[in-house]
Subunit: 785 residues, 2 copies
């Protein structure tokens, strides 16, 4: 059986290609998602949501809804305010001080500011009745003018996104160092670009969902939620319900993807939990896809006007420009995304002078927070587009331009004159960016491409090659928790505040513990996404979990191992260094019959038999560690691809895709492959397909997967992956996060390849997703010229 | 309001007379006992129990029971064996190696060995149906001869308690030191006594009860049980069900007294949990009082034949003799009770030579384990009776005889040539036994009693005075757990493996935390009796909880305090020693406007706002400690009482009762009063009332409170308590356990007083409970002589 390797003693160590422990249940239909949480006698909820992008609420008539059979309650903002310490959501974790803007309401009381904003909650005995009841609620709206485009929003004459706002600019900030004006004055060449990166969503396969049940027997409100942040949700619920955290248990069961969409604590999570707590009955709400389009977070629009100064050797002297970011109607969590985008422009490149002015504009659209990559893909797109401008303008090879500007390995650690939001300088720690690029170019036969392109062109085909580099800071703090426990029955459990969202976290954590304790991976029961399993925890974002949670798990397992050795030495009257861990036992090296099992050691540390513990060990064969990173560790990637553009339809087909990923130290190649596959596909969606369209009144137009295109398997080529390991000493595991970096260079590499494919037409992609209709127009215009 | 003092800042420190935080809900009828745990749709269980003291099971016919309406399942031993890794209970925690004997079955498969032994379980939709169904189960018994008296059981011709036993002696052991024969050879006087201390029970107001529910959503088997040992039950369930501890949650909700009866993990707890786990339906079983009489543990019978050698000054030279202990039909936990009884004889007295041979005999009666006092009351009764023999025989005052033999304060710490079961020597650490006795004698006007007695005698009344001393080792290891956590909302929780059984543990723990953190007692939410609140834990026995759990709580609270100060110093940019904790804040001394709240500190240690924690603090404002005692600490007591014996009825009325208790350091006088009140009443029951009667075939005869007499408030005089504090350095709190020691001297003091009251008749009490009919007979015989 294929899974058996993982269950053997030798299988399942760090670095092994262990099959995912998650997959057995999932493949047998035994996965348990929030949608599978059915509580007998439970109620169902539906939200009353605004059909207007902007309106004042003059009144709500719930009478008809309450008359409907099956409807148990209709909860408006006024009623909800009685259940909560604050009707407004607290500012999301973790963030620096918010410059302006307001967080969303749990239910909005007076003014709706985007289509889909919730103002009431209908609870009924079936979902049918709940949804019909929501339709029965009569809301008297006074519609107000709305603004959908973030550039237009900044016009002083534009309607206000919210009537109380003095203007629609949430904040303006500048990221600058060096002397940009001087750099541009001394430049041999200056190139400019105007770029648009479009608002998209995260679109996990599983949308959001919440089930809440107050259990009077255990005086516990259990909230199942498809979230990336179980402990944060517990804290937020405790704060808003005004109860102790100990009375609230949050469980994130199997989670069908997050990608940032489940990083936020949402109004719906509070509303459903508050309703269940107040009604003393279970309440369930499962987001439908239309709601996901309307009300789950999206990421951007960003409009960039940038220029780059280079010397005669095409070495970058400076970058300057301005950027407008679309925040949407509320600011639930801060401005991480635009900040990261601006500071992320320089990526793995040397940029001596820099000045970008950013404006964060509010619009009557759903609010935004970071999605996979968290601003870095946007920053990389700006840099890589400019590098292609340089190559094109100076008649240089695109790879050579990058080679001249990449940070060389001798400069590492490379301290940038840029700060992370924590205030610490961005410091590229390990990796070899030039070698990475060279490896990828060899793999895709970049040198031979000119010949291939010529052959194709001779057949009337437009093929092109593109490449892009990226770095991403991974393993963000403040800490992650892990606890390893061997119980008196010998069962091994490993709990962590890190969140399994489908990425294989349980397998990776089990491998780390199994590696230290020399037990089969299948013997380590990993508990994640449950606040009752461990008291502290942060959660899943910023490619942080294996770095921080994995390091904590490693250190906790080592503490347990050390304790086991100490007890074994005491019991066996042996020297600790003569002992080895093998097969769930600590045994005397060379005398395999002299051993104690881990279960026996655990019993000994519980005082069985007799009362006394071995001296100086402390009770319990368990340890909890919350390791804190000093600094982030930077993973680099280089992607290259070949595309073919159909000149008649503008369709872009990806012919080959090669991606190199620096992993620090590999825990499990199988899982990393999955992460990089997913990251690339995510990027392909951004580059070619996903477009969240609004009309001029900020009415969303693409609210189904028929209108909003996700890449499917037919659009994805075989992905050719190359892993390098440049271990870091930024964490005890020596790993780097790989959850996001696979997404970062994708739009850039594809845009570069499209440019190359259409070099005959002099086309330079400036907007993503690339619009095939626009490409055809551009080709037509070029041909006509 | 009376409770308000506890909520003020100044109230609720260690030593304060804080009202019990437990009492509000209990007095308002809001207590939640296992009987109050009702799960909608839950099932009810009744056990099929043997009516015979000894029989072979030839067959069980469940057909009629299964036909009864409402009966869902009938589970026999054969069926139960399929649910469990072992049908036999594991040896109870914590114990030394068992010399012989067997533990009980979860359900007995072939041979019943005491009346009430369970052989099948009927599950039904109501308790009525379950009990009727149990009556429908037809068992084909082959009755076997039974033995009820432990002395007769040792006769080689006696029937075997279990057919497989070679004989009925479970074990024989000797406790001896010095040279007893030489001491007796050199003695000025030798006195002897033959004593019987009768089997009695613990009889908490609330009997046992179990509710078990398997929750598929959370994959957790929750077992509510009225137990003193939640974590031990969790472990035993995990072991017998063959699942990880993490899948089992044990909750001991409000517990209506334990006194040792709930120290054992019982077959019923396993059977109910296994049934619920197997049936996937909640199952409830609440013991009725008849079952408690039949199947809850009892403590002894002990028969002692002892003699004491003294010199011409009445100083004890040696004690020797033999003892037979009635173990009952099984040995669930070892032989703690007889061992403690023998080693406990010498108590606070100097006994240079000692030799007691003990035999532990098995009988066809319910098995025994220690009850409150755990053998020490039995040992003290032997010693004190002998001291009275010396006084009577040598014409000396009883107090003076004790004074000459007590360990004097200059001899402390006094290492006895006796070992605790752990192997460590019994070492009396602090206290002043002579001064304690003098204080009590002054309080009861011992000196003036001769006059009072003469006056009473002149009125035809028989009054007498008695006294007795005791010590008890308290604070047994191996450890107890405690965890103090201040969450990001500012809520303070304090979890411990120590068990609240009605004694006020939550209040004491809250006081310890409140004292360290300078917060109101009411702000500390103490979580006990829940394995989900803390991973490790031992439980309630051996007067250990405030000593061990309290010390862990103190150390955990201090760690939290230290961390809070460190963070506050960082945030306020101040020196740690300039800070003070006050009212939930850490503030700069002399600048009350400069402060951070504990909630703010907790948020800071979670990484809010921003990502970084203050340097060198570690995440989370929480700490867990499992403090381990090096040695037990010995609490002493001296009791004196005046009684009046009615010569016509033999009724013994207690006129006055004065008890001095050494507490080490007092945490809460109100709670200690309750503990000592309860201990004395327990002892009064043993001395005068509680008699568990069996006939010659080991059939129990006293199975209701109409037959088995418990002392009620009308039998109890006002109890006059004196507390002394002789702090010990055996634990960081400086406390001694007070849960049991109040029971130890009671039977001795009352027996002594009865002797004195009936001194005209030369009566010397040799058996407890004192039988008034026998007293009248003795008086009649004496008068006739």
């Amino acid at each position: 059986m294929p899974g058996d390797a993982a269950r053997t003693r030798t299988g399942g160590r760090i670095g092994d290609r262990v099959e995912r422990v998650e997959d057995g249940p999932l493949l047998r239909g035994k996965g348990k998602y929030v949608g599978d949480v059915d509580i007998p006698g439970g109620l169902y909820a539906a939200f009353v949501r605004s059909p207007h992008a902007h309106a004042r609420i003059r009144g709500i008539d719930t009478a008809a809804a309450l008359r409907r059979e099956g409807v148990v309650a209709v909860i408006t903002a006024a009623e909800m305010a009685r259940y909560l310490t604050n009707l407004r959501m607290p500012l999301g974790f973790p963030t620096t001080a918010l410059p302006a803007g307001i967080t969303p309401y749990v239910l909005t009381p007076d003014e709706v500011c985007f289509v889909g904003e919730a103002l009431a909650l209908v609870i009924a005995t079936s979902r049918y009745a709940a949804e019909d009841g929501a339709g029965d609620v009569q809301v008297d709206y006074e519609t107000l003018p709305a603004v959908g485009d973030c550039r237009q929003a900044l016009d002083p004459a534009a309607p206000r996104v919210r009537t109380e706002f003095p203007d629609n600019a949430l904040t303006r900030f500048t990221v600058a160092y060096g002397d940009c004006d001087k750099a541009f004055a001394q430049a041999a060449h200056v190139f400019q670009d105007s770029l648009h990166q479009h608002r998209g969503g995260a679109h996990p396969m599983e949308g959001r969902g919440v089930v809440a049940e107050y259990d009077e027997l255990r005086d516990t409100l259990t909230v199942w939620s498809s979230t990336q942040m179980a402990h944060e949700l517990q804290f937020t619920l405790a704060e808003l319900l005004g109860v102790a955290e100990t009375r609230i248990r949050v469980i994130a069961p199997d989670v069908g993807g997050g990608f940032g969409a489940k990083f936020l604590i949402y109004p719906e999570e509070i509303a459903i939990a508050a309703a269940a707590f107040h009604l003393r009955q279970p309440v369930k709400w499962i987001e439908d896809r239309a709601e996901h389009f309307l009300c789950s977070i999206q990421e951007r629009d960003q409009y960039w006007d940038v220029e780059v100064a280079v010397d005669a050797d095409a070495r970058v002297l400076g970058i300057r420009g301005r950027m407008v970011h679309d925040q949407g109607a509320y600011t639930p969590q801060g401005i991480n995304c635009p900040y990261n985008a601006v500071t992320g422009v320089t990526g793995p490149y040397v940029v001596p002078n820099f000045h970008v002015d950013a404006v964060v504009a509010q619009t009557n659209k759903v609010y935004t927070i970071p999605v996979r990559g968290a601003g870095y893909p946007e920053g990389a797109f700006v840099m890589e587009r400019l590098l292609d401008r340089i190559a094109q303008g100076m008649g240089l090879d695109r790879a050579e331009v990058r080679r001249r500007n990449l940070v060389t390995v001798d400069k590492l650690p490379y301290v940038k004159p840029l700060k992370q939001r924590s205030g610490k300088p961005i410091t590229l720690d390990t990796g070899d960016y030039l070698q990475s690029q060279d490896t990828v170019l060899r793999a895709i036969d970049y040198a031979g491409f000119a010949r291939r392109k010529a052959e194709a062109r001779a057949q009337g085909r437009h093929i092109g090659i593109g490449l892009a580099n990226a770095v991403k800071g991974t393993g963000r703090g403040p800490f992650e928790s892990a606890s390893v426990r061997i119980s008196a029955t010998g069962h091994i459990s490993a709990a962590t505040g890190a969140m399994a969202m489908g990425q294989g976290l349980r397998t990776a954590m089990a491998q780390i513990v199994a590696d230290v304790l020399h037990v089969p991976v299948g013997d380590v029961n990993v508990l994640t996404g449950d606040t009752s399993a461990i008291s502290m925890g942060i959660g899943g974002f910023a490619s942080r979990q294996t770095v921080t949670g994995g390091s904590s798990m490693l250190l906790a397992a080592r503490q347990v191992e050390k304790k086991a050795r100490k007890v074994a030495a005491h019991v066996l009257k042996a020297d600790e260094q003569d002992l080895e861990l093998l097969d769930g036992k600590v045994r005397l090296r060379g005398q395999p019959e002299k051993f104690v099992t881990l279960a026996q050691i655990a019993r000994t540390l519980r005082g069985i038999p007799g009362y006394d513990l071995p001296p100086d060990t402390g009770a319990g064969l368990e340890a909890t560690v919350c390791w804190e990173p000093d600094a982030m560790t930077y993973a680099n990637a280089c992607h290259a691809c070949e595309v073919e553009v159909d000149p008649d339809t503008g369709n872009v087909a990806i012919l080959r895709y090669v991606a190199l990923q620096d992993c620090g130290r590999l825990i499990n190649p199988l899982i990393v492959e999955g992460q990089i596959h997913g990251g690339i596909v995510h990027g392909i969606g951004n580059a070619l397909f996903e477009y969240m369209r609004y009309d001029d009144n900020a009415q969303p137009l693409t609210t189904t997967f028929a209108d909003y295109l996700l890449p499917t398997s037919t659009e994805i080529p075989r992905l050719e992956l190359i892993f390098t390991q440049s271990p870091t000493d930024a964490n005890p595991l020596g790993v780097k996060g790989v959850g996001e970096v696979g997404t970062i260079p994708v739009t850039s590499a594809i845009a570069s390849a499209i440019d190359d494919a259409l070099s005959d037409f002099g086309i330079h992609v400036t907007a993503i997703p690339v619009d095939p209709v626009r490409l055809v127009q551009q080709m037509d215009e070029a041909s006509a010229a």
